[in-house]
């Protein structure tokens, strides 16, 4: 019996289809992300605003003392710290949770067929929702301390879009590596914690003096800078945007190539 079989789908095509299908089925990952948030805060009084409150407390506690240490006026340091922390939380949480992308979806992956990229979008969208809750505090702080914000603040929209794209490739990449090597999540967590201290989040870049120009080499600094600077009424350092865009391109292409190769193994690894 001769049957006309369709041409077998190449791994590259399969990986590309996975990404396309993943984006197009936004109703799947947006619903799952909403459910994650609902479940996380079910039974709590303030819901996701607990994060906002804890951030306000942290800023209030650190504000006075650290402003003094870095020789900055309190009304300049507090907005700087607040905005920096909000963005840092967004970026660092996407990286740390990115490790769990496929591991946490173990049940779904082994029971139904679904594009793998859906799980990456779920985590990123969930973090965007949390960011939205945290960002409410920024206009308040900017108002209280009379920060001169111009129209260039609108640039944070494309900036956040770029950060989101980076969140997706990081989730896929770290998700795959963590599925195969189980000691990667704690390594990444430690790494990010160290980065918090060496990246100018709670200390001003000016404290480094001439070394300040080397800062954009730290991609996490570039990520924070492009969103923070416009919100504080200034401009990012010279190469922040360049570094960020280069990282985005390399990250997307590199992760895609690895995704092509290892996507078929993910279901076996977890």
């Amino acid at each position: 019996m001769s049957i006309d079989l369709p041409r077998p789908v190449s791994r590259t095509e399969a990986a590309w289809d996975d990404l396309v299908e993943g984006i197009s089925k936004s109703w799947i990952w947006s619903a799952m992300a909403m459910q994650d948030i609902k479940m996380r805060y079910r039974g709590s009084l303030l819901g996701p605003f607990w994060l906002t409150i804890s951030m306000v407390i942290m800023v209030a506690a650190m504000g006075l003392i650290y402003a003094r240490m870095f020789n900055m006026e309190v009304n300049r340091y507090l907005p700087f710290l607040t905005v920096g922390l909000v963005i840092w939380n967004f970026v660092s949480t996407m990286i740390i949770e990115g490790c769990q992308t496929f591991l946490s979806a173990h049940n779904i992956i082994t029971q139904v067929r679904m594009p793998f990229s859906v799980h990456a979008w779920r985590g990123v969208y969930r973090n965007l929702i949390v960011l939205a809750h945290n960002m409410v505090i920024i206009p308040l702080v900017l108002l209280i301390f009379s920060v001169p914000v111009g129209w260039n603040v609108l640039i944070i929209v494309p900036a956040l879009a770029i950060l989101t794209i980076n969140g997706v490739w990081v989730s896929i990449l770290l998700g795959m590596i963590s599925a195969r090597y189980r000691d990667v999540p704690p390594i990444v967590t430690n790494f990010v914690q160290v980065l918090f201290f060496v990246t100018p989040v709670f200390w001003p870049p000016e404290a480094l003096g001439i070394w300040m120009q080397a800062l954009p080499l730290n991609p996490l600094f570039a990520a924070v800078d492009v969103v923070r600077a416009p919100l504080l009424g200034s401009t990012p350092l010279a190469y922040s945007w360049t570094v960020l865009l280069i990282i985005t391109v390399i990250g997307c292409i590199g992760t895609f190539l690895l995704f092509v190769k290892f996507r078929p193994r993910i279901a076996y690894w977890i």
Partner: protein, 266 residues
């Protein structure tokens, strides 16, 4: 026309033991010799499916039988597109519903109603469509006011009723099912039977893995027997079941001789 086709398909699992699960050990192994390298490369390869070729056509209701560990669940997962074959090719035409776990995605903290919507999403059903089916599902489960309570308050039977009702709410073109146990009271079982018949009857292709030969004889027209990952028998369902059970013993029941003959084989 719905169809499922496999060509020379193999699935190999690497079971990663302690050392090879660690990135640190893998990196160290490339720079040292001896025990560390062995520990890092410590994996067992298991061939779960071995050179399987088969064609399932529109109208086929296939009974998938075999001893535990023969590869039935793996084969279902390959057919569902969950596992990519290590070797060979898999082709499918038609919408596939893989019902391998009746409690898929059940969130204990969410209410029964929320779980219905959640489960719909996992089954690739748009919320708009799922919403139109919620009333019917709720009515079938007979859970009453419990439907708005968290699923963690449900008894095991209630969970099965919920999972079963959701799974059978959406007609499927290609239905893949894995050893469903119908735990529940007698009245529900009767209702479930009828719903099952309707549900299975509306599908174009059915592949059912089960140990219950009565169920298989009732619902299937073809049989495929797997043994250690290979297709050991294929054909009419009664013939394949007869091959699986083996020749009936003189004094003992046929079922008991089936257990004995397979204990001997493995």
């Amino acid at each position: 026309m719905a169809s499922l086709r496999l060509r020379n398909l193999s699935v190999e699992f690497s079971i990663y033991q302690g050392g090879s699960r660690s990135l640190k050990k893998m990196l160290v192994a490339t720079t040292t010799q001896g025990n560390l390298a062995r520990d890092a490369a410590d994996r067992i390869n298991v061939r779960a499916l071995d050179d399987v070729t088969l064609d399932i056509e529109d109208g086929d209701r296939v009974a998938l039988i075999g001893p535990n560990g023969a590869g039935k669940t793996t084969l279902l997962r390959v057919l569902a597109g969950i596992y990519s074959p290590t070797r060979g090719e898999s082709y499918s035409s038609g919408r596939i519903s893989a019902l391998l776990d009746v409690s898929l995605g059940l969130n204990p903290e969410a209410t029964g109603r929320e779980n219905i919507m959640l489960r719909g999403i996992y089954m690739n059903i748009h919320p708009r469509e799922m919403r139109s089916r919620v009333a019917e599902i709720v009515e079938f489960t007979e859970l009453g006011p419990y439907i708005d309570m968290p699923a963690r308050t449900y008894s095991a039977g209630m969970l099965v009723r919920l999972g079963f009702a959701i799974s059978t709410s959406m007609p499927a073109e290609i239905l893949l099912m894995d050893e469903w146990l119908l735990a529940g009271d007698a009245r529900f079982l009767d209702k479930a039977q009828r719903r099952m018949e309707q549900f299975v009857g509306s599908s174009s292709i059915l592949v059912l893995a089960s140990h219950s030969t009565d169920l298989l004889r009732k619902w299937c027209n073809r049989g495929i027997m797997l043994e250690r990952g290979r297709v050991a028998a294929s054909g009419n369902v009664d013939e394949v079941i007869a091959t699986y059970i083996g020749p009936p013993a003189q004094t003992k029941s046929a079922d008991r001789s089936a257990t004995n003959s397979h204990v001997g084989a493995t």
